[in-house]
Symmetry: C2
Subunit: 96 residues, 2 copies
């Protein structure tokens, strides 16, 4: 079964950029330690400091869904409640 | 100097998906052979067959810009003229 690529785009409220960035950064080591996590890289838009993006690769969709139920994801959602103005997530497959 | 990450989202006209996919696929080996190209992976949205995404990593912005002037990019643009309904590109930096 092919791996799952996730691209998650997070747009912080311009007044809450530092908070969102700090909370996103907390997720990196915790998520990289999870089963099935092949890649979990946080990026920032060079032209928009409020725009962050996670590029993720997971062994299976099931293991990614387990990740989405992890306590640190819930803690992130609570800590950034009201501080994120747009969140879009795409499930993709590498075809090259 | 930190590397450059490019995320390019390409939405094909629903009636031209196969053409756009074929032209995007042609770019992969040619671009991977270019100086400074670290990663150049084509993805497809699992929920929208018309939505493609290139995840790219380049040694420098300058080398990426050289790529954007390459003949195969010009040929792609010509071949897909009118067949792409939306194209967005973000220049990003890996901060994790």
């Amino acid at each position: 079964m092919s791996k799952l690529t996730i691209v998650a785009n997070i747009h912080a409220d311009p007044s809450q950029i530092d908070l969102v960035k700090a909370e996103l950064e907390k997720l990196v080591p915790l998520t990289r330690a999870e089963e099935g996590c092949i890649c979990y890289d946080l990026h920032r838009d060079n032209e928009d400091p409020a725009h962050f993006m996670f590029f993720e690769i997971w062994e299976t969709r099931a293991l990614w869904q387990t990740h989405m139920q992890a306590p640190h994801i819930a803690a992130y959602a609570q800590a950034t409640d009201g501080a994120v103005v747009d969140f879009r997530l795409n499930e993709m497959t590498n075809i090259s």
